[in-house]
């Protein structure tokens, strides 16, 4: 890779050991993907939940935090993805003191490096939406695909270590979705259906994602008859990224960039009501006792929180079912102030802040609480939890709430 004078200085350790590590890590990744050079980034979004970090990851962060303050300070605004613990409710969710202790150590270390603890995967809705052509180091697949597609910003999937390295160097290797040629469309889908709710938008994303099946595929989705809205594309993109590892899609006339194909446009794949119904049928379980209902993945916007409050008003969740609503700290504070939290929690549900369920020791929670059957309106969540021992059902928000009140999957 070509390095400028500042990058050479960082690699030589002239700006400290931490920035030397960061530059060396980024060069290893950049050379793997044939990056010619680096590009400056305006912000970094760091995934660093302690379930993923483990003891080794937390010790690594503590090593950074032990350096002198000028050497460890991030160079561009750096924020965090959801954490593993909401300290106000973790015991109620079956998490334990050891998990909370590890979480506190990680928070202290990241904070010491100047990282802002936003604890959110919907930073584009709640913190700072990037602009078209703005180069980023985003570290949540849902936030990357939304920023790339809806907003026209430019980021690869930057896992925690790499997003942190980008925050420390202020740059990232220029490959993949930082390049014009990497953003050209490769697949084409035509809709003969209008998803009716967020679970169906997620199902649509999952169908396209499974068909693409690669980070390097860029689908174009044609045939939309209405403007979906931010929450719909949030769920669509999150499922597309989860099921397909896809980081960019185009919806001509709605998303930020025109769809330029890499070659001749391929024949479109049709997606209609039968495909949506077939996907949802994979996650049906009518009549099963319902252990836990989760609204998360991605964290809920203020509008989604309001919809949950409306659906729960005047109703009580079955004593055998736990309902968890996960959102960002900013939205939680707004929901508290507007009375939405109290309306939701009057039903017996709990509103969690700064976590996103699957990043929160989902396996250990299931074992501690005896949870097996889970219901959600998030296609991303049902995909992830398959490996955690859950049997997951996907349905609309309203059907999830009705089922929580009944204590069984309706």
């Amino acid at each position: 890779m070509r390095l400028n004078d500042e990058e050479k200085a960082m690699l030589a350790g002239e700006l400290g050991e931490i920035r030397r590590w960061a530059m060396a890590h980024q060069i290893a990744v950049g050379e793997f993907f044939d990056a010619a050079d680096f590009v400056a980034v305006s912000q970094a979004h760091i995934m660093a939940d302690t379930e993923s970090l483990g003891e080794a990851g937390v010790r690594f962060l503590e090593g950074l935090a032990a350096a002198p303050q000028p050497a460890r300070q991030v160079r561009v605004p750096a924020i965090t993805d959801p954490r593993g613990i909401d300290f106000a409710i973790y015991r109620r969710l079956g998490q334990n003191a050891a998990m909370a202790a590890l979480e506190r150590r990680a928070i202290a270390a990241l904070s010491a490096c100047g990282v802002l603890m936003t604890d959110t995967c919907i930073n584009y809705q709640t913190i700072m939406a990037p602009l078209r052509c703005e180069h980023l180091a985003y570290g949540d697949t849902g936030s990357v695909i939304y920023a790339n597609s809806v907003l026209g910003a430019r980021s690869n999937f930057e896992g925690g270590p790499s997003a942190l390295a980008a925050a420390l160097t202020g740059r990232t290797p220029r490959y993949g979705y930082h390049l014009d040629e990497g953003r050209r469309a490769t697949r084409r889908f035509e809709l003969a259906v209008s998803p009716r709710d967020l679970s169906e938008w997620g199902a649509l994303g999952a169908i396209v994602g499974e068909a693409c099946g690669s980070y390097w595929q860029v689908p174009v989705i044609e045939g939309l008859t209405t403007v979906p809205g931010s929450d719909a594309l949030k769920h669509f993109g999150a499922a597309l990224a989860s099921f397909g590892s896809v980081a960019l899609f185009h919806m001509p006339g709605m998303t930020a960039e025109g769809a330029v194909f890499a070659g001749s446009p391929p024949k479109p794949v049709q997606i209609g009501p039968p495909e949506i119904a077939a996907f949802l049928a994979r996650y049906g379980a009518s009549g099963d006792k319902l252990d836990v209902v989760v609204f998360a993945a991605p964290q809920l916007s203020l509008y989604e929180i309001a919809a949950v409050a409306d659906a729960l008003d005047g109703r009580l969740v079955d004593p055998g079912t736990t309902v968890i609503v996960a959102t960002s700290p900013e939205i939680k504070h707004a929901a508290d102030r507007m009375g939405l939290t109290s309306r939701i929690e009057a039903s017996g549900a709990v509103v969690a802040q700064g976590i996103c369920f699957y990043q929160s020791y989902a396996r250990e929670m299931a074992e501690a609480k005896g949870w097996t059957r889970l219901m959600t309106n998030s296609a991303k969540l049902v995909n992830i939890l398959g490996g955690y021992g859950y049997r997951s059902s996907l349905a609309s928000l309203e059907r999830c709430i009705d089922s929580a009140v009944a204590g069984k999957v309706l």
């Binding site: 080794a56 930057e158 925690g160 099946g213 690669s214 396996r363 992830i384």
Partner: protein, 138 residues
């Protein structure tokens, strides 16, 4: 003479070990029980198999970014694959391999999940972009 496969230059140091192969994708969060060291996702083609100390040979990466941290912790706890061989990975697996010190190669001529078999003894040289099948002759 061992069978030699060429690939793109990879990440990590040369290692040798036994292959565990499937035409399926991979995410440490989605697919593994990292306390028991096995594939736990029921729909995965390697469900129930131990991945510890094996050279994993798979098609591509799944969604999710957690693998970027997890490989290092898995290595620290001694429950990590010895190397990763894929048809093509996403940035997360490359970042995780670089951070975790796990050998990784991809981009072969042909489908590597068909070229290699479970039980093959392999030597992986990421710097040279080479994988040798030591138990079969060319």
């Amino acid at each position: 003479m061992p069978i030699l496969l060429r690939c793109h230059r990879g990440i990590g140091l040369e290692v040798s070990g036994i292959a565990l192969v499937a035409a399926d994708n991979f995410s440490a969060r989605y697919d593994l029980d990292r306390s028991r060291g096995i594939f736990s996702r029921p729909s995965h083609k390697l469900a129930g198999e131990s991945y510890v100390d094996r050279i994993l040979v798979l098609d591509g990466a799944k969604g999710g970014v957690a693998t970027a941290w997890m490989l290092r912790d898995m290595r620290a706890r001694g429950i990590v694959p010895r190397a990763l061989i894929f048809n093509r990975v996403n940035p997360i697996l490359a970042q995780g391999a670089a951070f975790g010190g796990v050998a990784l190669v991809d981009r072969f001529t042909g489908d590597v999940t068909q070229l290699l078999r479970t039980g093959d003894m392999l030597r992986v040289d990421p710097t040279a972009g080479r994988v040798e099948i030591l138990n079969r002759d060319a």
